[in-house]
Symmetry: C2
Subunit: 159 residues, 2 copies
């Protein structure tokens, strides 16, 4: 493992670099990146006293080249917290240098510290690089659960 | 909608009824229910000052017949909270009376209040009753996301 790889929490002084990386992940996933208003919310929600998410940046030498966002879920049947990974990302040109693994190991160590029953996440079905990475780490694909969503433009259809 | 259906938060005085319903959902989903130690954690985690999950019970007249557990996730690209439904359940013999819909509508109203960008959940692929219910509510099945998990017995394989 490259000794020049370090991990640090998001803070005011690295937040612009964090936003840059979030944009890069959206680009990679072909999803809509946060617009300017969303970026302001992202900062408020991540750096407030009771943050709505936790995020860490991965650094190689002096450059921020990856990040992870996660939060704590909960399993009712285990009655234990579940660490849910929202994003884990390393810049294309910096892959295969061990940072993804380092970020993943860091997540596992946090989950252990917090006595989590599980770590869970989703990966897009065409993201072969991601899938290979998770399979290599012996993660289990839960193919018997269907993932559903209702978006906020639909909320007004309900009483 | 049946006017005798009411919704109330979990509390010390209804917690045993809540635990009974959690067991019933585990039985329905053919999953392992919480053991005695887990039930003690469930109470501590749900009724503490900073609860690890939120839960509400559905009542018909004087009987507790359903419940919902959820927590707040977050979408980095929307920069908005996401309400994640962990469990939503109505006892078999009390289905088709509108309580499931009432609980779901309640969840939507909370998500609206909290300015959530989405509501998300998972359903087991053989649970046709559940799937039909979500489809009727125009929820979208996100078939392009694969769901992955690492369990705590695997944590020690990581440094």
């Amino acid at each position: 493992m490259d000794e020049n790889l370090t991990i640090e929490p998001i803070k005011h002084t690295n937040f612009n670099e964090f936003l840059f990386l979030v944009d890069k992940l959206a680009e990679y996933e072909k999803l809509t990146p946060p617009d300017d208003k969303a970026k302001i919310r992202l900062k408020k929600d991540g750096l407030s006293k009771n943050p709505k998410y936790e995020a860490y940046l991965g650094k190689k030498d002096d450059r921020y080249i990856g990040y992870v966002i996660f939060f704590m879920n909960y399993s009712s049947f285990l009655a234990k917290p579940v660490l849910y990974i929202e994003d884990i990302f390393v810049l294309n040109e910096h892959r295969k240098k061990g940072l993804g693994q380092k970020l993943f190991n860091f997540i596992v160590s946090l989950a252990k510290e917090r006595d989590c029953g599980r770590i869970e996440w989703h990966v897009l079905d065409w993201n072969q690089l991601g899938i290979k990475f998770y399979e290599k780490n012996n993660a289990k694909h839960l193919s018997n659960w269907l993932y559903y969503r209702l978006t906020n433009d639909q909320f007004d259809n309900f009483v």
